[in-house]
Symmetry: C2
Subunit: 144 residues, 2 copies
């Protein structure tokens, strides 16, 4: 994981469709060498997968909210219960007054309310506090 690897990852974050020849040229390597390094980055799990960034509003998820979930029980083993709610994009166990922080995307605020209802149905959940996003300044890849 040297500077060249970091440059490769940065390039792929910008555009994963870039050719290995272009990738190599960008970091001063041949196409074959660039290919080999990227292969190893995948193998090591540094690169998890190559995916596509979607405009949430265009696919019917115009409403974004963060929900602090309070609990009266140990939530460490409840990942599956949160994953079962399709509208939840992220779920984290947090330090602080609440127990879990989830990121929710829905089409409407009514559907957001429905997600809150389903959150309450999870074992151990004692309360929620939703924060609705008014405007997203930016969302960008993991920093290097």
């Amino acid at each position: 994981m040297d500077d060249i690897d970091r440059a490769l990852v940065r390039n792929l974050q910008e555009d994963a469709g870039r050719s290995y020849a272009a990738l190599g040229a960008a970091v001063g390597l041949s196409a074959g060498a660039a290919h080999e390094r990227v292969r190893k980055l995948r193998e090591r799990g540094v690169i998890r997968r190559t995916t596509v960034e979607v405009d949430p509003a265009a696919v019917g998820s115009g409403v974004l909210a963060y929900v602090m979930v309070d609990a009266n029980a140990w939530m460490g083993d409840s990942a599956a219960a949160f994953a079962a709610i399709a509208e939840i994009q992220e779920a984290h166990v947090i330090a602080g007054s609440a127990s879990v922080l989830v990121k929710v995307r829905t089409a409407t605020t009514e559907q957001l309310q429905d997600v809150l209802r389903r959150l309450y149905a999870i074992d151990g959940v004692s309360g929620t506090q939703a924060t609705v996003v008014l405007e997203t300044f930016f969302e960008r890849p993991v920093p290097l």
Copy 2:
């Protein structure tokens, strides 16, 4: 934006490296037709870009925190000020007691503290409340 488009996007979210032939087969179309639909999805901005998902811990961003930023002024035009802090991965204007919610990734808690210091330096920022993530259950693509 019909069911076929949704299926295509779902497939590309899973693996953007999939061939157009495989993509077409998955939705009952020829490679050419699949290619054309994906091209239009990009053109329309439904697909913003094709990128690579990176393991944050592997690139020196093992600490994740959400920070509620309080302000005593209108923050609507301050996107650039937040974008200038490289460790900030997301920044949203929110409804509620705080003004802005930011997602921060750093290597250490010391660096997190430094980010908080730089947040205070932004015009209009009057306070911060950081929530450190202990464990991430999951992070997944925008739901369809």
